[in-house]
């Protein structure tokens, strides 16, 4: 044996090991690939051998090759073999290879589950450690689910080395298997206070990582972290915690207030720059969260800014960079305090380090004002000229545009200047942001009306210049600007100085080298231009000139018709035909200009980018609903339309239109026209709508931001933006002088008059009047658009799944799956053969659970409240409430009483309120989930009866009597015999069925039948199915797709002695008559001896009373109803009644769903309503030994049937 081993290792000596491989590769620099493929062949041979050492060596080499970019997924199985080696040396090699090459797509990964579990529970801590490390890299959802429990146990391992690894890997497990978060969280929280600092740090790490994604769920941990922050000395932990607080403060401003002091202390005391920096960062976050409410933190801001300035001035570039980064965060909320460091930031723009320059650029964004915008942009423009790399230059370009266009061009006082800046930017070679400039040009030209004339002149110059055409090869290059230029010249052609010249520029042959989408715009706008030229010529009476232009079009357009781009080709050929037609008309001396320009009449309004999304869904429109129900072959579906027709016939008379129909229609037509005219989105059919927009009142709706006056400047040709800076300065100077003059005058006046405080003559932003009268048209949004911006959320965010409330206590169902030894029996067969015992033990649990759940609900709520209170308490800065004052000796007992009673009351009220909440919640749930419905319904029912009892002023104690038979014969009049509304449906030795039928007002012509099934046998009842034979009038609502003859399954099984309720909905067409439906309950009764198939027939009796719904009615409404005279009348009399009148009425109320309107002595009026809206009024009179009932109802048949039923009930009394 030993010999064999030695032999094996001697063989191995001559195998290549990793070092040999590396050496070999270094020695074969010329034919590296060939050498490696040779090595891979060798490795394949080695992997075939049995010796695990050889295999491990091979896998080790493969890991190296993987780093060089070779795919080693083919060796996945061999890697697993090496992972499962018993020696740590090999195991480690295997796990390393797996961590480098395995991913979720690796199919053999599922084979590792058991091996990893074995290693996790290995007695050697390093086996466990290596498995954890490996797993952290390749954990999949399956592995996470299967191993979560094992890892969780490791979190309490005796060795801190394992504990910290187990804690860290939990984060990966949570990501892959979010269900594990809640069960594992309590233990994770424990680890925050682990004695080992490494484990503690790991736990902080994991929770910070979790909290960063979903901070609100971790707010309740804030006190704990606060404690850690003030006690820990580990800078890593401190940094993590402080970063976490930075994420939490936006959610809880009070937390921020509490944090400021300890953080400020840390800032002053720490010598570690990293900690200082994070503290500053978090203080900034706090200040941002407080910025709305608390203005008096200027000291903290000053401290931050001051510390940051020190960082920025440091010679260490890293600190400089970070200082600028943090500064940009302050900028958002406290721009003023940053602006004072403008010098420093502008200085950073000249730094040799690009990262720092970029950061400084970011800062500039927030530092501009109306006053300094031109100056800053000028500086940036010089940087653009100097910049070397295109990336940095592009960055500069986007920044310039960002800075200028921010908050709706807030800081631009002179748009001519801006346009010329944009034009200057077009001279950049090789930029990738041509489209950005183009978009700005379009935006400004469309929204700033006053600038159009200037813009058009600039754009036509651009179209004319050759340099842009030259660069047309690059996609998104600068030639994109021509897109904007062409469109602006076309759309606003009325402002063109020399339209003919521009037209020719646009029809040059070189244009065809431009990208297709730009050519398409050219073609379209050439026509606009043409139309306006035509109009000019015709107005001037130059018929020849007009024809010459047409000829030019006819000559040049064919070059576009030949374009390879479909869009260009299509537009060009279409327009060519049009122009040819115009040519013909012109030849006949027909004036055409009017009609041609009508093609492009009207003005475009800017529409907000999200406008379409924001159009609110009209009320009643359900986009998810079927327009046509999907076809189904079942009869039940066929019957539905009949019900619809039936209803329609009922309703039609009401809707019959009046005779004055024609007038009404005409009026509506007019109104619609009016509406269309005002609707900018509606394409009008009127023949010449030219400039009609301006006339219609609709234009006034476009929101316009007014900026006031001054004289527009005119700079001919392509101006340099610098000119504007000078001009602007002059202008401002002039303004200032004027202002000063005015001020002086005023002062003089003031001197004469009363003394008033005049403000110092400082020049603020507001003082600078813009150079032009500018209307910035804001973008249109649909009316009543929703302001929410929730559409930015990414639904595929993997961290979303971890948005889990962690404060709720764990439910029983929330357990990590525990791998058990496989039970041969269970594995063999599904549910059916599960031994009885197990079932038995399971079932009652369910019942218990229901109960438990309710209680837990309450507990949960309480606990949550408590938690919230805890946090609130911790956050509140006020000292804890002082203990109740000691009772004054003289009134000792009294005071104790007064102290305690209110408390009790309070608690009572609290629990009651909770109960109510419970119910409310229950009802809410009702609507959502079908499952808990049954429970709740029953509860409601109980409550209803309870409520009734209460209203009858029942003495206490009757509740206990509930359930006892009636014949206790209590002489007391007020005593109400307790009853159940459930009537026996059918029973046999196995099962007893009782049912109750209830209508609901929401769904007319539907009733709910609640059937309680009670198992009376010792067998378990399963596979229960209810089949009911529908009649023409009444149908059972079945799940979609099942036919009339199919049974409807009962959604539960019944262990012995257990009862449960199932509910079924029936649709009734006519409710005026009672009816019966035959049905059968089939089920399998299973006991130790075997299973039998059983049946129980029943008849479902829909009485007319079951269609009535208890509806309260006031006596005056009741009187009105009786007076109205639409009700037919009928009466009935029953003799031999000895029951008290009170009980009698209660019986009618209970069984027939009536409510008492008024009661005088032995006479009472009662009211009820049917599910289809029939009113039923009763007058019940009690004689000596008899009762007479007079009824009035909107349907006589219903009434007579109801009275018959009532008679039967009364006869029993």
């Amino acid at each position: 044996m030993a010999l064999k081993m030695v032999k094996g290792s001697i063989d191995r000596m001559f195998d290549k090991n990793l070092q040999d491989l590396v050496r070999g590769i270094r020695n074969h620099k010329e034919d590296e690939a060939k050498y490696i493929s040779q090595c891979i062949d060798e490795i394949k041979q080695e992997l075939k051998q049995d010796n695990i050492a050889v295999k491990a060596n091979a896998v080790c080499k493969l890991t190296y090759l993987q780093m060089l970019g070779y795919d080693i997924s083919w060796a996945a199985f061999n890697i697993i073999e090496v992972m499962s080696a018993s020696k740590f040396t090999f195991k480690r090699i295997g796990y390393l290879a797996a961590s480098q090459s395995f991913h979720e797509g690796t199919d053999v990964i599922m084979l590792t589950t058991n091996q990893i579990r074995k290693d996790l529970s290995s007695p050697s801590q390093y086996d466990t450690g290596v498995a954890l490390t490996g797993l952290s890299c390749f954990v999949t959802p399956d592995l996470a689910r299967d191993l979560a429990n094992d890892i969780m146990t490791l979190m309490s391992h005796t060795k801190p080395y394992i504990r910290k690894k187990a804690v860290l890997i939990m984060y990966k497990v949570f990501l892959k298997y979010p269900e594990s978060l809640r069960p594992a969280f309590p233990r994770l929280k424990e680890k925050l206070e682990d004695p080992d600092p490494g484990v503690q740090s790991a736990a902080v790490n994991v929770i910070c990582e979790l909290a960063r994604r979903n901070p609100k769920n971790y707010l309740s941990l804030a006190p704990l972290f606060f404690k850690l922050m003030t006690s820990s000395t580990n800078n890593w932990v401190l940094i993590k915690i402080i970063k976490l607080f930075g994420a939490l403060t936006p959610l809880e401003p009070r937390l921020g207030k509490k944090l400021i002091e300890p953080l400020t202390n840390l800032i002053h005391s720490t010598s570690a720059m990293s900690l200082l920096y994070e503290c500053v960062n978090t203080v900034i976050a706090v200040l941002i969260s407080l910025s709305s409410g608390m203005p008096n933190h200027s000291a903290s801001i000053q401290l931050c800014v001051q510390k940051l300035r020190i960082l920025i001035e440091d010679s260490d570039q890293n600190l400089k960079y970070l200082g600028l980064l943090a500064m940009s965060k302050i900028l958002k909320t406290h721009p003023k305090s940053v602006q004072s460091h403008k010098d420093l930031i502008l200085q950073c723009l000249d730094d040799k380090d690009e990262s720092i320059r970029l950061r400084a650029l970011d800062l500039l964004y927030g530092m501009v004002s109306k006053k300094n915008l031109m100056e800053i942009v000028k500086k940036l423009m010089t940087h653009v000229d100097k910049a070397e790399g295109t990336t940095y230059r592009d960055e500069l370009l986007t920044k310039i545009i960002d800075i200028c266009s921010q908050s709706n061009y807030q800081y631009i006082t002179n748009f001519e200047w801006y346009i010329s800046i944009l034009v200057e930017l077009t001279r950049l070679e090789g930029t990738r942001h041509g489209h950005l400039i183009a978009a700005q040009m379009l935006d400004v030209a469309i929204r700033v009306k006053a600038i159009r004339k200037f813009a058009v002149s600039q754009m036509s110059a651009l179209l004319d210049s050759a340099h842009l055409l030259a660069s047309s090869t690059q996609r998104n290059g600068i030639c994109e600007v021509l897109y904007a230029a062409a469109w602006i010249c076309g759309e606003f052609s009325e402002h063109l100085q020399e339209p003919h010249h521009t037209l020719e520029a646009m029809l040059r042959p070189r244009v065809t080298t431009l990208p297709g989408h730009i050519q398409a715009v050219y073609v379209q706008n050439v026509v606009k231009l043409y139309a306006s030229i035509l109009q000019q010529k015709e107005q001037a009476g130059e018929a020849e000139g007009a024809q010459a232009v047409t000829q030019l079009m006819v000559d040049r357009l064919p070059q576009f018709v030949q374009s390879a781009d479909l869009e260009v080709q299509e537009r060009a050929s279409c327009i060519l035909q049009l122009v040819k037609h115009i040519q013909k008309l012109q030849a006949k001396d027909v004036p055409v200009a009017e009609e041609v320009s009508a093609l492009f009449a009207g003005e475009l309004n800017p529409v907000a980018p999200k406008a379409q999304k924001k159009v609110p869904v009209p009320e009643g429109l359900d986009l998810d609903a079927w327009i046509n129900e999907p076809l189904s072959d079942s009869e039940s579906e066929d019957e539905r339309p009949r019900a619809v027709f039936h209803e329609e016939e009922q309703r039609r008379p009401k809707h019959r239109p009046s005779e004055a129909d024609e007038e009404e229609l005409a009026r509506r037509r007019e109104a619609r026209k009016q509406e269309q005219a005002n609707n900018p989105f509606y394409i009008k059919s009127s023949p010449s709508p030219q400039k009609r927009y301006q006339d219609t009142p609709g234009v006034e709706h476009i929101p316009v931001v007014q900026i006031d006056l001054s004289v527009p400047l005119k700079v001919p040709g392509l101006p340099m933006s610098d000119q504007y800076v000078k001009l602007e300065e002059e202008r401002r100077h002039r303004q200032k002088l004027e202002k000063d003059k005015r001020r002086k005058k005023r002062k003089e006046k003031e001197k004469k008059g009363k003394r008033r405080h005049s403000s110092l003559p400082t020049e603020s932003d507001e003082d600078i009047a813009p150079a032009q009268q500018v209307d910035i048209v804001t973008e249109e949004m649909p009316e009543n658009a929703l302001p929410s911006d929730e559409d930015d959320k990414d639904p595929n965010d993997p961290y979303r799944a971890l948005d889990i409330d962690l404060d709720k206590p764990l439910a029983d169902s929330e357990k990590l799956p525990i791998q058990k030894h496989r039970n041969t029996e269970t594995s063999k067969s599904p549910e059916k053969d599960v031994p009885m015992v197990e079932k038995k033990s399971k079932k009652p649990k369910k019942k218990e659970k229901k109960h438990k759940e309710k209680e837990r609900d309450k507990e949960k709520r309480k606990e949550k409240e408590k938690k919230a209170e805890d946090l609130d308490f911790w956050l509140s800065t006020t000292p804890p409430p002082a203990p109740a004052p000691a009772p004054v000796p003289s009134t000792g007992e009294l005071s104790v009483n007064t102290v305690t009673t209110p408390k009790d009351e309070c608690e009572d009220a609290k629990t009651e309120a909770q109960g109510e909440e419970d119910d409310a919640e229950g009802q809410d749930q009702d609507k959502k989930s079908p499952k808990p419905k049954k429970k709740k319904h029953r509860k409601e029912k109980e409550e209803r009866t309870k409520g009734k009892k209460k209203s009858k002023k029942q003495p206490p104690g009757s509740e206990e009597a509930a359930g006892e038979p009636v014949q206790n014969g209590a002489p007391e009049e007020e005593q109400l015999p307790p009853e159940s509304s459930y009537s026996l449906l059918a029973e046999n030795s196995y099962v007893k069925m009782t049912c109750d039928i209830r209508g609901s007002l929401q769904e007319d012509s539907q009733v709910t039948v609640a059937i309680v099934l009670e198992n009376r046998s010792s067998s378990i009842l399963k596979g229960m199915e209810l089949s009911v034979l529908d009649s023409l009038n009444a149908r059972m609502a079945r799940p979609q797709g099942s036919s009339v003859h199919d049974g409807v399954p009962v959604p539960f099984q019944l262990p012995p002695g257990v009862s449960n309720e199932a509910q079924y909905v029936f649709t009734i067409q006519s409710i005026v008559m009672a009816q019966k439906l035959k049905g059968t309950l089939s089920f399998i009764a299973k006991n130790d001896e075997g299973a039998t198939h059983e049946k129980l027939d029943f008849r479902l009796h829909f009485s007319c009373s079951s269609y009535l719904i208890t509806t309260p009615c006031y006596s005056d409404a009741f009187a009105k109803l009786l007076e109205s005279g639409d009700l037919s009348m009928s009466s009935v009399k029953v003799d031999g009644i000895r029951m008290s009148f009170q009980n009698l009425l209660a019986k009618i109320c209970f069984h027939h769903h009536f409510s008492v309107v008024e009661r005088v002595d032995s006479c009472a009026s009662m009211y009820s309503r049917s599910i289809q809206g029939h009113h039923v009024c009763l007058l019940v009179k009690k004689g000596e030994n008899s009762v007479s009932v007079d009824g009035k109802c909107s349907d006589s048949t219903l009434l007579s049937n109801l009275l018959e039923e009532m008679k039967a009930t009364l006869a029993k009394c």
């Binding site: 290792s9 390393l96 979720e104 800078n235």
Partner: protein
């Protein structure tokens, strides 16, 4: 979270790559190339942070690197990591390597990439910082090496001998690319534990 850790030399040749997010081999090589391209053109006296690096993901990510003699150590991290903290972690990593290899040089990393991986595994696990205390890391590494030796036992002896002989054949191995003695200015975290 740390997204990736890369070590490559001045020529862009990778000496170690550890990705904490799955990428295909091709993408990995691309990322290494791109990162090298970004990092190598930077001057010595500029900051050690770098934004961009399009391949490895969004704007949240940063490259934090240090350049020691012939080697670049690059960590790609997201915003949950402290920039200065990671710079320090790189320092701890290099110092640990120096301790474990006894005056580490580039060749140590070239020939013993597996060992470097093992050391790294004691510091960073699944993209999260596991341990920052150098003594603790070295203790664990030593214990594992001891375990390895005891496992090799008798059978391992001949292999070690052969390996020693093989190494002796290589007089050209220059051991002068020493990075252990380069004094690095550590501006932060003196109280690191």
């Amino acid at each position: 979270m740390i997204k990736a850790i890369l070590i490559f030399n001045n020529h862009g040749k990778p000496q170690l790559s550890k990705f904490y997010q799955p990428y295909s081999e091709d993408t990995q090589q691309q990322i290494i190339r791109e990162t090298f391209h970004l990092v190598s053109k930077r001057d010595e006296n500029v900051c050690n942070f770098l934004e961009g690096g399009l391949l490895i993901g969004g704007s949240d990510n940063k490259l934090i690197y240090r350049h020691y003699a012939t080697l670049y150590f690059v960590f790609c991290v997201d915003s949950s990591e402290s920039e200065l903290g990671i710079l320090d972690l790189i320092q701890v990593f290099v110092e640990t390597l120096d301790k474990c290899f006894e005056n580490v040089c580039e060749l140590d990393l070239i020939f013993h990439v597996d060992k470097v991986h093992n050391i790294l595994a004691e510091m960073v696990m699944g993209g999260m910082v596991l341990e920052t205390n150098m003594n603790e890391i070295v203790t664990q590494i030593d214990a594992q090496n001891k375990l390895e030796k005891s496992e090799a036992g008798l059978a391992g002896a001949p292999a070690r001998a052969v390996s020693a002989v093989k190494n002796m054949n290589l007089p050209e191995i220059p051991r002068n690319i020493n990075i252990g003695d380069i004094s690095i200015k550590v501006p932060n975290l003196p109280s690191f534990k």
